[in-house]
Amino acid sequence: MTQPSFDAAGALEFDLARGSLTFDGKVAALAVPTSALDALFKRAPADIVEGFGKRLGSQAAECVRERVGEHKLSLSLDGVTEHLGGAFALLGLGNLQMERWGKALVVNISGIPLKSAHVAIVRSALESALLHLFERTVKGVAVSQDESSVKLLVVAPDVAPKVEAWVQQGFSWGELLDKLHRGVSA
């Protein structure tokens, strides 16, 4: 079954007469340079940064829901990657790609324009988007990152602290996957 591609037509409407910008003509938006956000997030508390990211994630989920409707539950991995990735790109959060390692879901986001708290913002956005789309509370654990990209391992919220400890202990990517799958019946 082929998945419909993300349609970005009309996603952003510029009303130059009013001087307004909206998502899909409904939600007011603001085009803000990343330098202004970086200056803001550099001194912002963690909960403020996570709240900002959650707002972005909910908007991304609303964008997908507008285009998929009730078929969201039947979307495959590629379909979710296509639409959720499109919504992240529309918000300017970067390039989203999803991978499956056994039963583990891994999300790679690259090209993040933010310089300050970029990992926390995209992680919160992803968690919020998955919650709004599929009503599942998940937690993204950054297993690797750099100044413009991050690799997130999606796990249950109660497992996240354990996986974060493994990452801090320096386990390799293969060892993390092995530990995650250990004790789980096929």
């Binding site: 979307l75 390692w101 583990a104 599942r136 998940v138 796990v155 092995d178 799958h181 789980v184 096929a186």
Partner: protein, 286 residues
Amino acid sequence: MSAQQKVAALEGLLARIQANRALPRLPYVASPVVPAEAILEEAPAPAAYVPSAVEAAPEEIEADDVELFDDEIVEVTVDSDPSADAAPPATETTDFELSFSDPADAISEPSPSEAEANSTETDFSDVSTALEPAAASDAQAAVAGAPADAQDTIEEEAPASSKRAKVTPTSMSEALAEAASQAEREVPLKTPPPESGPQAASPVQIPAAGRLPTLPPEPAEEQAEVAQAPAEPVNTAAAFAALEPEVATRAAADANVLRIVGAATAFKPKSFLELLDATLGLSRGE
């Protein structure tokens, strides 16, 4: 010797020369005589030709033989050769006289036999060696009873077959320098054999695994220096045991990857929601 004695000696020499000149000449029988005119026409003498000292004028001989002494003059008595005493044939005598009296005969050098036979000319030639050509001196040296100087000159000449030139020092300083250089060259260059002599090679032993070969005992002084240094025991077995092969670690990682890949192949979720539920159930079984 005073000047008067020299003059007397010279006068005596001149008298003998004049007396010898009156003696009959030996016949010239070496080769048929070629007319002088023919020689001059066919092969003219070179312009730089210098007449031989044998044919020098008597005045020059006297001027050059001033330093002649009586004891240095050797009178060579010509043995009475029957052939020489006998009267030569008329034709040969005529030819000889013609060739001798002819001025062109000056360009023809006398043969050794002739020089040997003309003993009167060799009497004074030994004292004027510098003025005579080499052929004349050789002929005189061949004569028995030649002066010692002439014999020394012959002996000092390098043999014709020798390829090495005989270097004769010209002064005492050069001779001393040469002797010193020869003394330096005579220093033996061979190193003497070691006093200890040849040493027998020790048998080679292959050490056991994990053990170092035992070293030969060191002298007492070196052992004292080693004792002062901080002791660092070397346990090679422990060191090897602490090392893990890097290949084994990679093999375990590869096994994990294969295991995960196998699980990923077996698990095929139909939807993203199924995958999301599976990933949320990871690591909860421990």
